[in-house]
Amino acid sequence: MMRLASASHYLHTFREDETLPSLDAALKESCREHVRRVDRFIKLALIGSARCAAHHTLRRDCAVYLGSGFGPIGSNIAAQEQMFRDHETPSPYHFVNTLGSSAGFHVAKNLGLTGQNLFITRRGASFMAVLTAAAADLALGVMSQALVGVVEEVNLPLEDHRRRRGLAPETAVAEASHWLLLEAGGSGGRPLELRHFSAMAALEAALLSSAGPGDRVRLAQGLEGDGVERLLRRFPQDPEPAGHDDLEAAWVCGLAAGGAQRGLSLADGGPGRGYSLLHLGA
């Protein structure tokens, strides 16, 4: 049985006229040493992971699973502009920060970790992807502790960000860093179970039979298959909290980090993502 030892939740929804809020104070609080030459995506990862790990003893082989729908947008833009607008070579700073392994490297370095370190993406479902990978490795005994996070960066102006994301004008846009600290076995924390199904019908049956009367239930954005309408009638959904790529991470980590003691169930599924049911015990 997997257990949730800790959660952290950072979600900032942008006003139309807002500039990027400084992360420097939070970064200083989060990092053991001064961190140089890191972009906003990495700063978000550092802050979220450190907050999740605060007050917990991490083993050196604690694994890091980082997910993101769009990755380090700001560094990619800077590198592209240097090449195609300025006809220059991208700066090493921007180039290195575009790499998928850079954020995980800085998280591991800051927290003193040397274990497995992965960046996995799945559009709209990166949270479930990294959670599934971590759960598999915990079950196999690859390690006994895992930091699982999802980071989404926003690059201003919002109008450009919405265009590159294919979002309608006025859609709420948020940057985020959501993290869970998971452990295999033990008795601390809250039990977290992740089950997988080959079809929507099996997921529907499992959710209907397992969700307790006091549980909060979320049907993931993009959940597809026969039975979704029935589930929506049975479990009416709250309005979406904000527009970033993985609302499920915001929902789970927000409630878990906020101290909500009720059980949580999250149903996710559709083509390319399988069918999964996460249950966080009360």
């Binding site: 180039f95 790499l99 998928g100 392994s101 490297f105 390319g272």
Partner: protein
């Protein structure tokens, strides 16, 4: 964890458009390097490169659409999967570029039209997995791994573990890297590129990049011919420096020991090692230092980047296909370009092919971000 069978392979790289041709070219010692000139910079550059001989313009944003389906079909054909198995087939992709080439094309076009600012398209990480799915008619789960040069090795490790847990019976694992400006100029800016690639040689000066699309079909069930198996592997993170491995080799040694422990192997049971071998001045010594800490006496060692270049996030699958293809032909490939050993390095890659005995082989991968992954491949009866 149970062994997983390597049921099919596909590859297009500088050596050729299909896996058989690529393996033959490697064993024949071909070094199909070419020069790529980038004229539209303030300071034009010429870079040595290993390009896929598909005849297309390197900046053509549609190259993945032509190359990736053929490679994935080659990996799956002959495996005898049923229509239902194909439809459920999960696709794991490891890449360091994904669709950045398409984003570059859109960005370049917009600036050429005179736009003052352009909202650069985001990199679509799912694109390559969807292409593979479309080619095969699959609707299974997709997984995209982006951990620099160990991306495809980690995708393969992820697939092996899901198979080991019984989540899937078969999985397609793709490594994909095509030429793009960001990579060519990014590595150029780091001043790690050279004109030739000579792993572990005294005259090594750096790496030569390349492109390649490789795919393997892995399965819990053996194929008709028995074939090769993947026993597992391990990944860790070296936090010494984001772009250079710790020269003391500790982290490389650690991931090697983890892989051996995870697969129940003693060092003396390893028949040979396919090194990462980028030929960079700092990378090869770190890898050599790690190997020497684990092996009292190094087994035969080879490095394959002289044949196809460093294909970055795809290199582990591309080199696995080449290495496995050689093992199937009964040999361990030589390291082209290796002539003079480095004093103090004590690592000498094979100068000529040698017979490949049954047993286990290590495949080593080191990526930026300190991302190290070792895979264990087994030949012969279990």
């Amino acid at each position: 964890m149970q062994s997983v069978h390597l049921r099919g392979m596909g590859l297009s790289c500088a050596l050729g458009m299909d896996a058989e041709r690529c393996v033959s070219g490697m064993l024949d010692g071909e070094l199909p390097r070419t020069a790529v000139r980038l004229d539209d910079l303030r300071e034009p550059v010429e870079i040595q490169y290993y390009r896929i001989p598909d005849g297309a313009d390197l900046s053509d944003p549609g190259r993945f659409e032509h190359l990736l389906p053929a490679v994935t079909r080659a990996a799956v054909e002959g495996a005898g999967l049923t229509a239902a198995e194909l439809e459920a087939l999960p696709v794991f992709v490891g890449s360091s570029c994904f669709s950045v080439g398409q984003a570059e094309h859109a960005y370049r076009s917009a600036f050429a039209r005179g736009a003052a600012t352009v909202p650069m398209p985001v990199c679509d990480y799912d694109h390559l997995a969807r292409l593979a799915q479309q080619a095969l008619g699959s609707r299974g789960e997709i997984w995209s791994y982006n951990t620099a040069c160990s991306s495809a090795a980690n995708a393969l490790l992820g697939a092996l573990r899901m198979l080991g847990l019984g989540r899937y019976r078969h999985a397609l694992v793709v490594g994909a890297e095509l030429a793009n400006r960001t990579t060519l100029l990014g590595f150029g800016g780091l001043q790690v590129l050279a004109d030739e690639v000579r792993p572990f040689d005294a005259a090594r000066r750096g790496m030569v990049l390349g492109e390649g699309v490789g795919a393997v079909l892995v399965s819990t069930q053996p194929g008709p011919a028995g074939g090769l198996r993947l026993r597992g592997g391990s990944n860790n993170c070296d936090t010494h420096n984001v772009t250079t491995a710790n020269p003391d080799g500790r982290s490389v040694a650690s991931v090697l020991r983890q892989a051996l422990a995870q697969t129940g192997l003693a060092p003396q049971e390893v028949r040979a090692i396919k090194a990462h071998g980028t030929a960079s001045p700092s990378g090869d010594p770190a890898e050599a230092a790690g190997l020497k800490q684990v092996f009292d006496s190094l087994p035969p060692l080879t490095a394959l980047k002289p044949y196809l270049g460093h294909t970055l996030g795809a290199c582990s699958i591309n080199e696995l296909v080449l290495f496995a293809g050689a093992l199937e032909r009964g040999v361990i490939p030589a390291t082209a370009g290796f002539e003079t050993a480095v004093t103090g390095l004590e690592v000498e890659p094979l100068r000529a092919v040698v017979p490949a005995p049954d047993g286990c082989y290590l495949l080593n991968h080191l990526g930026f971000g300190g991302n190290n992954t070792v895979l264990v491949l087994e030949k012969g009866a279990p």
